[in-house]
């Protein structure tokens, strides 16, 4: 019994310790003031690797999710004869919730795991050490551009996801099922408020972008530099990011849309 409590305490301490390490790590990354010229090129490279390469999965998933929303919305709403409200339903779900959340989950799976694996591999092959020995801070050269890249790419990906989703919903609702186009957009415009709905969605995705990239680069940097270590770090990235996104989504939704 005592043994079990001791074990619990130890794992609690271990948890606190890894939180502490990731905080120190984050501070180390953020303190390094970016040098304009060279760092900008590194950032562009990461925006390419993180943002552009995730675009395909974001476009395809956004389109399908929008189409499914259109289909489901139509079947439910037509029971009440208010299938005109389909536009507002699709837009609000996407802009407020599904856009930021699904983008973040896909991001964790596509870009986050790749970041962790890449950094872990650089650690395992001593590339990070050799950088340190060349007098180059890997936090600044390798980690910071990846963190900022993820941070910038996520909101862009999320608005693209929402837009494509709305277009997919319109494809199904208007072009296929025959909802009147005027009321589709009209209802949507009447109910979606730019600063309350769209902006809150963007704020969510900024938070998610930051958290997901932080988890990904930290797991990569902190991993055990062996193949087993890298693969477990990659798994951890996806699991922790997904949990963090869903948990934070609840908190943010309660703060933003809760009526108290």
């Amino acid at each position: 019994m005592i043994d079990r409590i001791a074990r619990l305490g130890r794992s609690g301490l271990e948890l606190a310790r890894s939180f502490g390490r990731s905080g120190i790590f984050l501070a180390g990354v953020l303190v390094g003031v970016p040098r304009t010229g060279a760092d900008f090129a590194l950032l562009v490279r990461q925006l390419y690797a993180i943002g552009v390469l995730s675009l395909a999965i974001i476009l395809v998933s956004g389109l399908f999710i929008g189409m499914v929303l259109g289909l489901q919305g139509y079947t439910i709403l037509s029971d009440y004869g208010s299938e005109d409200a389909i536009g507002q339903m699709i837009a609000l779900t996407l802009v407020r919730e599904l856009g930021p959340v699904v983008t973040a989950l896909l991001f964790a799976g596509r870009a986050g795991s790749a970041l962790t694996a890449e950094i872990g591999l650089m650690k395992a092959t001593e590339q990070l050490s050799s950088m340190e020995m060349m007098g180059v801070d890997p936090l600044r050269q390798v980690i910071a551009p990846r963190l900022w890249g993820g941070f910038l790419a996520m909101p862009l990906l999320a608005v693209i996801f929402s837009s494509v989703g709305i277009w997919g919903g319109k494809l199904v609702g208007v072009d296929w099922l025959g909802v009147f186009e005027g009321s589709f957009w009209g209802n949507m415009q009447a109910s979606v408020e730019f600063f309350d709905d769209v902006m809150n969605g963007i704020i969510k995705s900024i938070v998610f972008g930051f958290v997901c990239s932080w988890i990904a680069v930290f797991q990569g940097y902190d991993c055990v530099p062996t193949s087993a270590g890298i693969s477990s770090a990659t798994t951890k990235t996806v699991v922790y990011s997904s949990l963090a996104v869903l948990g934070l989504d609840f908190v943010l939704t309660a703060v933003m849309f809760g009526s108290f």
């Binding site: 090129a41 562009v44 490279r45 925006l47 390419y48 943002g51 552009v52 675009l55 009440y80 004869g81 208010s82 005109d84 409200a85 837009a91 802009v95 909101p155 862009l156 990906l157 608005v159 693209i160 929402s162 837009s163 494509v164 709305i166 957009w185 209802n187 949507m188 415009q189 009447a190 109910s191 979606v192 408020e193 730019f194 309350d196 709905d197 769209v198 963007i202």
Partner: protein
């Protein structure tokens, strides 16, 4: 990958994001550029504000012309006092127009419809609607019908 190509694709990606944002702003939320600047405030008192909500729509002949800013209870008359912002371009609403609470569809949300009067003078900032018509309360209506009144 050549650096140039990479920069171009990243640029296209950023532009795509900006376009998506503009799409969400204009087409999805119906934000009109510059239209936000000039609005004027008018008031209306209702016996029953029903399901009216802040940010709800104010329309004339089905066209949105403004938004509801707030709904409060008037302590003296025990009526609902609705404050709304009307688009500055629509500056010729006759003073004898009335504000009516309507529902879009059977279950849709409630909004204020302004039914136009015939007076020559127009409403200005700070004016109140002279005549109003409260929300159609379905429950009460059915109750009245059932009791034969």
């Amino acid at each position: 990958m050549a650096r140039r190509t990479m920069e171009v694709t990243v640029g296209v990606f950023m532009l795509l994001g900006v376009f998506a944002l503009i799409f969400l702003a204009l087409q999805v939320s119906g934000l009109t550029p510059g239209g936000n600047g000039s609005t004027y405030t008018v008031y209306a008192r209702f016996n029953d504000a029903g399901g009216l909500t802040a940010r709800g729509r104010v329309s004339m002949a089905g066209v949105t012309v403004g938004r509801i800013r707030s709904i409060e209870l008037d302590r003296d008359s025990f009526q609902a006092r609705v404050t709304m912002d009307i688009d500055g371009v629509i500056d010729n609403i006759p003073t004898d127009s009335s504000a009516v609470i309507r529902t879009s569809g059977l279950l849709g949300e409630q909004y204020i419809d302004i039914s136009v009067g015939a007076d020559d003078t127009s409403m200005a900032d700070g004016d109140s609607f002279y005549s109003t018509q409260s929300a159609l309360n379905l429950e009460r209506l059915i109750g009245n019908f059932a009791s034969g009144r």
